[in-house]
Point group: C2
Chain length 200, copies 2
Amino acid sequence: MTTARNPEQTRERILHAAFEEIHIHGFQGMRIEHILAATGLAKGALYHHFENKQALGYAVVEEVIQEHHASTWREPLLAATDPITALQTLLRSFTERHSKEEILRGCPLNNLVQEMSGLDEGFHQRLRQIYVDWSATIADALAAGQRNNIVRTDIDSESVAMFIVSSTQGLLGAAKCMQSTATLQRLCNTLADYLETLRA
Amino acid sequence: MTTARNPEQTRERILHAAFEEIHIHGFQGMRIEHILAATGLAKGALYHHFENKQALGYAVVEEVIQEHHASTWREPLLAATDPITALQTLLRSFTERHSKEEILRGCPLNNLVQEMSGLDEGFHQRLRQIYVDWSATIADALAAGQRNNIVRTDIDSESVAMFIVSSTQGLLGAAKCMQSTATLQRLCNTLADYLETLRA
DNA sequence: CTGTTGACAGACCAACTGGTCTGATGTCTA
DNA sequence: TAGACATCAGACCAGTTGGTCTGTCAACAG
């Protein structure tokens, strides 16, 4: 029997399986064997597409997590005129989109930051970039809102943006620990109340 | 040469070294060998005091992290009459106490929550308890402040308390990722501003 | 049609790691 | 003081894991 080959798809399948593994077990807890089992591939395939475990981890950050964050946060905020309402809507959809099982797995970005940013400079640089981009997106939206008299002008948009990012990560972390959608919902509502205080 | 024995101290030394290891490398990344090297002990000593790696991890949570959090947060809040000022003071001392290297290692509690609460039920239960206690301490202080007309009565003290806890964790996580004391300082100031909006 | 190269399979390996087991020694008690 | 037990030392073991290497076959160029 002959098997059709599709190298690009194979690479994507490995990336996706590695993302799942990292999401659940962390990078150090990720096992090459698990990825092979999930994809049905052999080691030859994996080590043909990725030099080693570290390179695979870096690729997951760059090609999966970064992309996911950009599409989830950047595009809606760029399209919105009222950044506060847009953020509140994003938070609400966030709550609705996540089941209890997904909450328990936590935010992939937050997980990796806590695990790896102090251990590996390559991870640290890549994760930091996602934070910076994410925060800058919110800061730009807030600054635009200030120019349009939607957002209070006496706040520092960059500080507040970073606070929103870090708080959001904190909420997800707390919800992960409490294993409760109700907790996440209450936390998101409280954050939404805070966002309301930023309105001009 | 004879060597004096002090089992309680030996146990404490192991616990402390294990805490350091977990703080830097996480529980999965913690190596028994590193603890032995740090303490100068042999395996016989460690496995005499702790049944296995998991039991050692549990003991670190119960006897080191929980104790540390209780002494850092509970006692100052119980003693204070104005919870908002007390929390702001705690945040400030928090910033001043942490060097850049300590920030990079992150919050031991937050690290473990992100790594283990989805993987091991024993860790999850113990870490969740710390969150619950911490949040309850703040909620009690806020409720007392409401009775004394220091804190707004139109807020839900429990929701806000959990929000403060989760945000604090988020701030530390973001500072860890950004590797910057200045970022932590700005984030703490923004959180302090939020706390100010809770004043009656 | 054929040679070359990319894509993958899977056996194999070396290093690491948590854990065990036996023995030695201190400490405490009867 | 002598036996019992707690407290350790350290050699040893078995399972795991990331990574390598050779071989096979598809895809494509000429």
